[in-house]
């Protein structure tokens, strides 16, 4: 049944249904509504979990790592400065192969301080060994939490994951959303069975020192697990579709791509605006399409190459900047690699940083630029303030 719900509250509902045993978080805008609602659920007895109210994000993810190592299903949520502060622990969680799921309400990084949306925070941690899913709307980002736990906890995966969604644009927006019922989720996502855990009767050590003879192989194995997680996420998304009627087996989703000359590539809520802009451009006879990335890590290179095969130019809309890089955005070079040898032009457009609106006319302008072979730039600079 569809209910009108704020994005953050829909996520809190999803988390409740996943039955985490430990939740720990530190408040940061625009993540706060999620964790406040979870704190309330725990206090009211609607969620049978420990809510650990810690003194920083660093402590939050550290407590989560401990709880996961002790064998619990664990949840956290953060944004921006909070995620960056966690960075040391973020890498450790992946290295210790703890399947923690964390919601990221995407927000710009300081300085200068900004509470508004872009995707710099999660993209900055793309190499940490957490898989990364991006939601386009409240329903998608809500459902991705179930799928994330299901894939992460498989014993052939055992990786943590981010579920990312645009801060304010999705976290604070009310949309109709279908929240599954507990029985169905219990069947889809049974109790967490740890592969190994801290247990005094059968002691193990985690996070030990690795000499140069072993370290290299540890990193290799994390990467191998990440590559396998593509299939695990896809299977979890397919099974979810069979039960709940919303299929998430695809890592990339094409929109009006059949005869497209210029294709956009984007992640998150901006895909909605891009689709509207595409519909308008199509009425004007401009053949444009979109390839939406749902799974950014592991990077779905083959699927992207297939989806973009027939186009002449690709416009990558980047809500991030890889400062000092040739293409400016972080996603562009990977698209370029996917299309290596095809001769298709790939151009990044850094846009929407720190909450700057991206309007339909901007999308149209980017399509124009890509068709002319111009890009790899900060789009829409206000020259008068430079």
């Amino acid at each position: 049944m569809l209910q009108i719900m704020e994005g953050s509250h829909a996520i809190a509902e999803a988390v409740r249904l996943c039955r985490p045993e430990v939740v720990s978080a530190y408040p940061i805008t625009p993540q706060t509504h999620i964790v406040e609602r979870l704190a309330e659920m725990v206090a009211d007895g609607d969620l049978n979990a420990e809510y650990i109210c810690v003194e920083s994000e660093f402590s939050a993810l550290s407590a989560c790592l401990g709880a996961s190592a002790a064998g619990s299903r664990v949840y956290s949520a953060t944004s921006s400065q909070g995620l960056i502060l966690m960075a040391e622990v973020v890498f450790n969680v992946a290295g210790m192969r703890q399947p923690i799921i964390m919601s990221i309400a995407n927000r710009a990084l300081g300085a200068p301080l900004s509470i508004w949306n872009d995707q710099q925070d999660s993209i900055a941690l793309r190499d940490s060994g957490w898989f990364q899913l991006y939601g386009e709307d409240v329903q998608e980002m809500t459902d991705q939490h179930f799928i994330a736990y299901k894939a992460a906890e498989r014993h052939d995966i055992l990786l943590p994951g981010f579920v990312c969604f645009d801060g304010f644009i999705l976290s604070h927006t009310y949309e109709p959303v279908d929240i599954p019922n507990q029985e169905d989720i219990d069947a889809y996502l049974p109790k967490y069975v740890p592969y190994n855990m801290l247990d005094a009767k059968d002691p193990i050590s985690m996070g030990m020192y690795a000499t140069p003879e072993y370290y290299h192989e540890f990193r290799y194995e994390i990467d191998q697990a990440m590559m396998r997680s593509a299939a695990a996420l896809s299977e979890a998304g397919k099974e979810f579709g069979e039960i709940f009627g919303r299929d998430y087996s695809e890592h990339v989703v094409p929109y009006r791509m059949d005869d497209a000359d210029v294709a956009f590539v984007a992640m998150g809520s901006i895909c909605g605006t891009i689709k509207d802009a595409i519909d308008e451009m199509r009425t004007d006879g401009i053949k444009v399409g979109l390839v939406k990335i749902r799974t950014y890590r592991p990077f779905p290179e083959k699927e992207i190459a297939k989806a973009l095969g027939g186009v002449s130019a690709v416009a990558v809309l980047e809500k991030n900047v890889s400062i000092g890089s040739a293409m400016k955005g972080a996603v562009g070079p990977e698209i370029l690699h996917a299309l290596n040898g095809t001769g298709i032009g790939v151009y990044s457009y850094v846009a929407g940083l720190g909450g700057r609106d991206i309007r339909k006319k901007d999308i149209r302008a980017m399509a124009d630029l890509a068709a002319q072979g111009k890009g790899n730039m900060f789009y829409g600079l206000r020259e008068e303030v430079l």
């Binding site: 408040p27 406040e36 704190a39 206090a43 003194e55 502060l85």
Partner: protein, 265 residues
């Protein structure tokens, strides 16, 4: 404050400010500016440093140079400023969350080093800026969005913590005790080494309305009627008399002259 002093220290171009109606932070800012002005310090030799929070917005409204840093780190940044240029007067504005939660480690180490800073903490007993989650200073039983039925963990006594960790000067007052607060800040500015002044403030938006203070004035009145002078508390204890649990202590907790770091030559 005279119009002249106000015009000298405040940036009218930054108005209107972000503080809610009835917020106690403005009072603490005014007390600080009065004390700084009374020291004869100038715009050019004084710098305000802060972290993130409502309280930490204060330096943005002041005409001196200011360094607006990340959440919790004001003291670490301020230590760098002072060590690089001991001739600067460095004043830090912080909040209970900024100072005692995410920045707690920097707090105890800055006290231990006894670095020559004056730190003014606007303690509203909550994370105000993010909408009222419980902080390490939320008293047991008080309501916040993360403690909907009352905080269960004991709160820090920030001023006692500063004393124990080695600060040369530590005092606590409230936004009601304006004259005392100005005097305490002045004493902190004068004392070489780490000076800590805790100012309890009303926060009608995130704290008061959840904790039965229906009007701003009620929380201010609470601070007036529940503040007990440190000397009085000690006297009661010496006499073996009970100190009511709902009273909190105010006054000068320590003033000493231990060797300090970053004191101007």
């Amino acid at each position: 404050m005279s119009t002249e002093t106000f015009g000298k220290w405040y940036r009218e171009d930054r108005l209107p400010h972000i503080f809610c109606t009835g917020c106690g932070n403005g009072t603490v800012m005014n007390c600080t500016i009065k004390a700084v002005d009374a020291m004869g310090w100038e715009i050019d030799d004084t710098i305000f440093v802060s972290g993130i929070g409502c309280s930490s917005r204060a330096p943005g409204y002041i005409s001196t140079d200011s360094l607006h840093t990340t959440h919790g780190r004001a003291l670490a940044f301020a230590t760098g400023v002072k060590m690089a240029n001991p001739d600067l007067h460095v004043v830090v504005f912080t909040g209970d969350g900024d100072l005692a939660a995410i920045g707690g480690n920097h707090f105890i180490h800055a006290c231990r080093r006894n670095i020559d800073l004056t730190v003014i903490c606007m303690n509203n007993m909550i994370y105000g800026m993010t909408g009222g989650q419980g902080s390490p200073c939320t008293p047991v039983g008080k309501i916040s969005t993360t403690t909907p039925y009352g905080a269960a963990e004991p709160a820090f006594d920030l001023t006692e913590l500063a004393v124990a960790a080695g600060a040369n000067y530590a005092a606590r007052w409230t936004s009601y005790h304006v004259a005392e607060l100005i005097k305490a800040i002045r004493a902190g500015l004068e004392t070489p080494g780490f000076s800590f002044i805790e100012a309890l403030v009303q926060c009608p938006t995130a704290y008061g309305r959840r904790n039965k203070f229906r009007q701003v004035g009620e929380q201010v009145e609470y601070m007036r009627s529940h503040a007990m002078l440190l000397q009085k508390k000690r006297r009661l204890e010496e006499q073996g008399k009970d100190v009511p649990d709902d009273m909190f202590t105010v006054g000068e907790f320590v003033r000493r002259y231990r060797p300090a770091l970053g004191v101007r030559k």
